[in-house]
């Protein structure tokens, strides 16, 4: 079975190379269209003008919104079918779901053993959502199949529609000159609105757990008036870094996923069918590691927030409690 897949894969690769170098079918410059923001498919309460909604729009239905709902549906179906008639000894699909949850739970145990049951839901949600979303966003066709709309009037007027030199221009489904493609789907993490919402929720929950554990004295780490001028200055830096966490949470995953898409497009333009391959593998890795980093950083900041400021305890947050020593290589 695996052998046959390898042969099919090699045949596709060779066919692509033949198409590119013998028949000259490859991307041209005007096939590259990159939009940093999610494009609206429809505008509720407004009109779509080019790539944006007209002012006064109540709710733009963007392609990343559609994709987010799709990912949510996938996750719901997986949980419904995985958790239906649960058994103590899992078999079949329940095994898969348990492996994912348990794997991340054991990882979280190593970071904060005491509070893991309290913290676990949010980081696990972030991890599983972004894992599925990033992986689905890498499926070929997600960012490349869509509807053709006329470009913005002023932009089209500035650059009169020239005859397209792309070899794809005669094919069905290709947007002619003066039109732009709006994909049906777009990876949710490639839309800053999605990642920013997750970052806001994560930072809010970090502060919430801090206040819940320490009361109002939690805020002394931001406005430290007891330890002199230096302590006050350090606490102000702490406050600034706390606010910048929202920005860094949101832009880290956005930059990685969006940058990965741009790299794949540019590599397909430079040397089609061959050069994107290693980058595609790398993007699969990035899709996984960025979801892990978002979730683990949330967890680490949470476990930091519940420790009182200046309390140098003997047990670090991740140190196993007594009697629960991890399997140590003797």
């Amino acid at each position: 079975m695996r052998n046959r897949l390898v042969w099919i894969f090699l045949a596709l690769l060779v066919g692509g190379i033949v198409l590119q170098y013998v028949f000259g079918i490859k991307m041209s410059r005007e096939d590259i269209h990159i939009s940093a923001r999610a494009e609206p498919l429809a505008c509720i309460g407004g009109e779509r003008v080019g790539e944006a909604c007209s002012p006064g729009t109540i709710l733009p239905i963007t392609n990343s919104l559609v994709m987010t709902i799709l990912v949510d549906l996938v996750l719901l179906l997986v949980i419904i079918f995985g958790a239906r008639n649960m058994q103590l000894v899992p078999r079949g699909f329940q095994n898969v779901v348990e492996t994912v949850v348990e794997g991340f739970y054991n990882f979280a145990l190593g970071i904060d053993r005491r509070n893991v049951s309290k913290f676990f839901p949010l980081p696990a949600t972030i991890f599983i959502f972004f894992l599925v979303a990033n992986m689905l966003g890498l499926i070929p066709g997600v960012g490349s199949i869509g509807i053709c709309v006329p470009a913005e009037p002023e932009a089209a007027a500035a650059a009169p529609a020239a005859a397209s030199s792309s070899v794809f221009s005669g094919l069905p489904g290709y947007c002619g000159a003066g039109n732009i493609l709006i994909p049906w789907l777009r990876a949710p993490a490639a839309d800053l609105n999605v990642t920013f919402a997750f970052a806001l929720v994560a930072v809010f929950m970090i502060e919430y757990f801090g206040v819940q554990a320490l009361g109002l004295s939690y805020f002394t780490r931001f406005f430290n008036l007891r330890e002199g001028a230096l302590g006050f200055f350090v606490s102000l830096i702490e406050l600034i870094s706390e606010i910048s966490r929202i920005i860094s949470f949101a832009f880290r995953i956005f930059g990685n996923i969006f940058g990965g898409e741009v790299i794949l497009i540019v590599m397909s333009f430079l040397l089609g069918y061959v050069l994107p391959l290693p980058f595609y593998g790398f993007e699969l890795f990035v899709a996984f590691i960025q979801s892990v980093i978002f979730a683990v950083l949330t967890l680490v900041f949470m476990s930091n927030a519940v420790v009182a400021h200046g309390a140098h305890e003997e047990h670090g947050p991740g140190e196993p409690a007594h009697g629960e020593t991890q399997a140590s290589p003797a």
Partner: protein
Amino acid sequence: MDEASARLIGMALAIGLGAIGPGAGIGIVFSGAVQAMGRNPEAEGLIRTYMFLGFALAEALFIFALVFGILIGFGIV
């Protein structure tokens, strides 16, 4: 040089130069963490916590460079 090309150069410089320091910093963070884990495998959980903290702090600088690169490149500032 008109404004658009100056903005493009500025964006590329902001992101490119801003990636140098954090790249080296993240490498140092992870190499130190791996060495520490090798020397003291029992403390792996604690090391991992601080490893990710250090990673986040180093990475935040690059995020700022990225944000300002985007702000410059798309003509927001």
